[in-house]
C-alpha cells in the first residue's frame, strides 16, 4: 500500500511514522574541497518545502535506499527560502555513496531533528564564531541567519581554520563575509602554501591572538573534537563563562530522535537534547568522552 | 526444484591476471568459444581470492564459482598459487561439510597459453552446475 495513503499511516497510535523518510531530489552539487561537497535539495513533493520549518543548527537523517542513513546538519539558512543544503565530507560508506550521486538523484530525508541554536539568547550580543574544517557547515547556517537580521546582533567575529588552503569550505561565503565591513573575518590554515597570504596557525591559537572580548558576548564553536577540546580553555582564558560558550556536537546518530541509544553524553542525547549545547551542560563529560 | 530446460547457470570466475585471464583472452581471440555463463573478475593472483568472495558470490545468487590460477611452480609472485591451493582446498571441503554442493566451487590451473583448456574447463564446469541446478542456498523460504 502506498505511503501517501494517510489513513493507512494513521493505523499507528501516533501522528506519522517518524522513521519513514520524505523523498527529496538533489538539485545542485557544489565541490567545496577535494573531499567535501554541498548538495542543494528539495522535496519531491514540492509543497512540503513551504511547510518545512527548521532552525539553524538542526539536522536531518539522509539516506540512500539500499546503502543506509546518516545525520548531517542543514547547512543553509532558514532565512533563505530558495534552497535547502547539506554538506558532506567523504569519510565512510554512505558519504562515499552520496559523493557518487548526480543531480536529479532521489534520496530519503527525515527531520528536522535536534534543538538548533538558541537565537533568542544571541540577540543583542557580540557573536564570536569559531569553526574548524567542515565544522563551518552548521555555523554557516547560523551566520547567514544572523546577517539576514543584522540589526538584532552586535559585533560579529568569525575565526575559521582548516588544515591547508585547499580545505577551505564555502569559499563563496567567505568572500562575502570578508567584504562585509560589519564582520571581522579571520581565516587561518595549519599549514600554508605558496599562494596563501593569510594567517597560519591552529584555531585555538589564532583565537587567543584575535582575543575577542567576552563582554556581552557569546562564542559559538564547531569543529573536530580536538579543536573543541583546545578552544574552550582559550575562551575561558578570554573571560567567557561556560554559559557563554556554545558548541554543536557530532555523534553517531542512527535514529535522530533519542531512541537508538548511541549518541549520549551522560544522560543527554545529542540528537534529542542537542546537538547544540552550552559548555556548562556538557563540561563534566567533554574532556572524557568527546 | 522445478526448473525449465532453458535455465542456464551463472558462474563467477576469479582469474589470475598473469595466466588464466590471459588464457581466457586467448580463447576469445582464437575463437575457441567458451560458455557465456561465466562472468570474469580479474584478480592479481589466485592467492588474492578470499573465501569471502566465494561466499558473497553464492549469497548474491550465482550458481557457482571458479577460481583459476597459474600452474604450481609458475606463480608470478613465486608462491601465491600454493597459498591459494591451501585456502581453496579447506574452503571447498568445509563448504561441502556445511552442505553446499561441491560442484559449486571449482578450481583450475590454466596458463596464458591454454586457451583451449579454458574453454574445456568452463564448458565442463557449466555442465556440472547445470546438473547441480539453481543455487537456492540462501533463499528465504524454508
Amino acid at each position: 500500500m502506498p505511503v501517501s495513503d494517510i489513513s493507512y499511516r494513521k493505523r499507528f497510535l501516533t501522528k506519522d511514522n517518524v522513521y519513514l523518510p520524505h523523498l527529496v531530489m538533489i538539485e545542485k552539487i557544489i565541490d567545496e574541497t577535494p573531499d567535501t561537497r554541498t548538495f542543494h535539495f528539495n522535496f519531491k513533493d514540492k509543497g512540503l518545502r513551504e511547510e518545512f520549518p527548521f532552525k539553524s543548527g538542526q539536522f536531518g537523517e539522509y539516506s540512500i535506499f539500499g546503502i543506509g542513513e546518516a545525520p548531517f546538519c542543514i547547512s543553509s539558512s532558514p532565512t533563505r527560502y530558495d534552497r535547502l543544503e547539506f554538506t558532506v565530507r567523504r569519510v565512510g560508506s554512505l558519504t562515499n555513496a552520496l559523493h557518487r550521486l548526480s543531480v536529479g538523484a532521489e534520496i530519503g530525508f527525515r527531520g528536522p531533528y535536534g534543538n538548533g541554536f538558541p537565537l533568542d539568547l544571541l540577540e543583542d550580543k557580540n557573536l564570536v564564531f569559531v569553526a574548524g574544517g567542515i565544522g563551518l557547515a552548521p555555523l554557516r547556517s547560523l551566520i547567514w541567519n544572523v546577517i539576514d537580521n543584522r540589526d538584532k546582533y552586535k559585533n560579529i567575529d568569525i575565526i575559521y581554520g582548516v588544515r591547508s588552503p585547499a580545505d577551505l569550505c564555502f569559499k563563496y561565503d567567505l568572500k562575502n563575509w570578508d567584504k562585509d565591513k560589519s564582520i571581522n573575518m579571520v581565516t587561518t590554515v595549519d599549514k600554508g602554501d605558496k599562494t596563501w597570504k593569510g594567517r597560519v596557525g591552529f584555531v585555538p591559537q589564532v583565537l587567543e591572538e584575535v582575543a575577542p572580548s567576552a563582554d556581552n558576548a557569546v562564542a559559538i564553536a564547531c569543529g573536530p573534537p580536538i579543536m573543541i577540546r583546545f578552544t574552550f580553555p582559550v575562551l575561558a582564558k578570554l573571560g567567557f563563562t561556560p554559559e557563554q560558550m556554545i558548541t554543536t556536537l557530532e555523534k553517531r546518530m542512527k535514529c535522530g530522535i533519542g531512541k537508538c541509544g548511541r549518541c549520549n553524553i551522560g544522560n543527554l542525547y545529542v540528537c534529542r537534547d542537542g546537538p547544540v549545547f552550552t559548555y556548562a551542560q556538557i563540561k563534566d563529560f567533554i574532556s572524557d568522552e568527546y | 526444484m522445478a526448473q525449465d530446460s532453458e535455465w542456464e547457470p551463472k558462474l563467477v570466475g576469479f582469474l589470475c591476471r598473469w595466466c588464466s585471464y590471459a588464457g581466457a583472452d586467448l580463447a576469445g581471440t582464437s575463437r575457441k568459444k567458451y560458455p557465456a555463463n561465466i562472468g570474469i573478475i580479474k584478480v592479481p593472483c589466485s592467492g588474492r581470492v578470499d573465501p569471502l568472495f566465494i561466499l558473497k558470490a553464492l549469497r548474491l545468487g550465482f550458481d557457482g564459482v571458479l577460481v583459476s590460477g597459474c600452474h604450481p611452480g609458475e606463480c608470478h609472485y613465486q608462491t601465491g598459487n600454493y597459498r591459494a591451493r591451501r585456502k581453496i582446498a579447506l574452503t571447498k571441503k568445509f563448504l561441502e561439510y556445511m552442505g553446499i554442493d561441491p560442484r559449486r566451487l571449482q578450481a583450475s590451473w590454466i596458463s596464458a597459453s591454454e586457451g583451449g583448456k579454458f574453454t574445456e574447463v568452463t564448458t565442463q564446469v557449466t555442465k556440472e552446475l547445470k546438473e547441480a541446478g539453481p543455487n537456492e542456498l540462501f533463499a528465504d523460504d524454508k
Partner: protein
C-alpha cells in the same frame, strides 16, 4: 598432590612472580559469583592471588586476554589454553618472552549443561558437584547421584590430545597422559555427516536462525584477535549487521575458515553461545580438515610455521582441474 596443595602452590608461585616483578599481571581463575562457575581473575595485586583456584569448572580459555594486556603476563594454562598461547606466539601476536605459562595438568572440564540435562535441574538448584576419579557425584535434594565422568565432560575434553601443556614455564602438578576418545567426542559430527548436502544445509540454516549476533563466539576466542572483524567492514560491506540466518551463517563459515590452523578445539565458542548453537561441530570439522589435508595441529609445536603462510610443493591437488 591434592587439589588443595596444587592450589596453594599455584598461589605461592603467582605471588612470587608478582613480587619478583617477573610479571606485571597474573591471569587465572577465581570462584565465580554463581555456583559451579569460575571467573577470570586478571590482577596486578599480589593480595588477589589468594583467590586463585583449580577445579573442574575452569572452562574459559584465558589466552584470550593475552592480546589485550600490555606488559608481562603470568597465565594459568590448561593444555588447550597452552596450545592457544603457542598459536598466538606463532602468529606474532604474543611474544613468548612476555608470557610466563603456569601449566595446569587437566583431567577435563565439567559441562554444566550436560549435568543439568542428566539431573533434570538447573545448576543453581544442585547442591554439590564433585569429581571423584572417573566419576562425578551430583548432590541434589538430599540424594547423591554418580555419573561416569565421560558423560559430563565437554565434548572437546573427550578428544583432548594435550591434557598437560607441552609449552610451559612452571608446571603445578604431575603431568597427565592423553587418552583421547575421538569417537565419543565426534558423535554429533558423525551424525551430521550421514545427512545429505541438502539436509545438512537445512540443519545449519535452522541452527543459525537463532543466532542473535552477540559475537560471544568470536570474542571468547583467543584466535579471533583481529582489531577489525570482516563483519564490521563498511566498504565493502560483506555481510549485514542484521541477524538474518543467511548472514549469520556466512559470518560463521568465514570465521571458521579464518581460524584454520589457529583453532585448537578449546570449545569456548560453543560454551559461550547463549542460544545453544553447536559451534564446535563447525570448528572441530575445520580442525580435523587441517589435520587430514596438511597434517597440521594448531598450537602443538612452537616452531611450526603458521598453516596458511606455509605450503608443500605437492598437496591437496585432487580437485584442481
Amino acid at each position: 598432590m591434592t587439589n588443595r596443595e596444587a592450589e596453594q602452590r599455584l598461589r605461592d608461585e603467582a605471588k612470587s612472580l608478582l613480587e619478583s616483578a617477573k610479571v606485571d599481571y597474573i591471569v587465572g581463575f577465581a570462584d565465580g559469583s554463581l555456583k559451579f562457575h569460575t571467573t577470570p581473575l586478571i590482577t596486578r595485586n599480589k593480595d588477589d592471588v589468594d583467590h586463585l583456584v583449580i577445579n573442574p569448572f575452569m572452562a574459559s580459555n584465558l589466552a584470550k586476554f593475552l592480546t589485550e594486556l600490555e606488559g608481562r603476563v603470568g597465565i594459568v594454562a590448561k593444555g588447550c589454553d597452552s596450545r592457544s598461547i603457542v598459536s598466538l606466539v606463532q602468529d606474532n601476536k604474543v611474544s613468548r618472552e612476555k608470557v610466563v605459562i603456569v601449566g595446569i595438568p587437566c583431567r577435563g572440564m565439567i559441562n554444566l549443561s550436560k549435568i543439568e540435562q542428566l539431573a533434570g535441574k538447573e545448576s543453581d538448584e544442585i547442591d554439590d558437584i564433585t569429581r571423584q576419579g572417573d566419576k562425578v557425584v551430583v548432590k541434589l535434594d538430599g540424594s547423591e547421584k554418580e555419573i561416569p565422568v565421560k558423560e559430563v565432560l565437554f565434548d572437546h575434553c573427550l578428544a583432548c590430545e594435550l591434557p598437560t601443556p607441552k609449552e610451559y614455564d612452571l608446571l603445578i602438578d604431575e603431568p597427565i597422559p592423553a587418552t583421547p576418545d575421538e569417537e565419543a567426542s565426534q558423535a554429533k559430527i558423525n551424525k551430521l555427516e550421514e545427512l545429505s548436502h541438502h539436509e545438512r544445509w537445512r540443519f545449519w540454516q535452522n541452527e543459525f536462525s537463532r543466532c542473535i549476533r552477540c559475537y560471544a563466539c568470536r570474542n571468547v576466542c583467543p584466535a579471533c584477535y583481529c582489531q577489525r572483524c570482516f563483519v564490521e567492514e563498511a566498504e565493502p560491506q560483506w555481510i549485514l549487521s542484521i541477524p538474518k540466518w543467511q548472514d549469520n551463517l556466512i559470518f560463521q563459515i568465514i570465521r571458521n575458515i579464518h581460524l584454520a590452523g589457529r583453532c585448537t578445539d578449546c570449545g569456548e565458542c560453543e560454551r559461550a553461545c547463549p542460544v545453544n548453537i553447536p559451534l564446535r561441530s563447525l570448528s572441530k570439522e575445520m580442525y580435523d580438515l587441517v589435520g587430514e589435508l596438511f597434517r597440521f595441529k594448531s598450537g602443538m609445536e612452537i616452531d611450526a610455521a603458521p598453516l596458511l603462510t606455509h605450503y608443500e610443493l605437492e598437496e591437496a591437488e585432487d580437485f584442481f582441474r
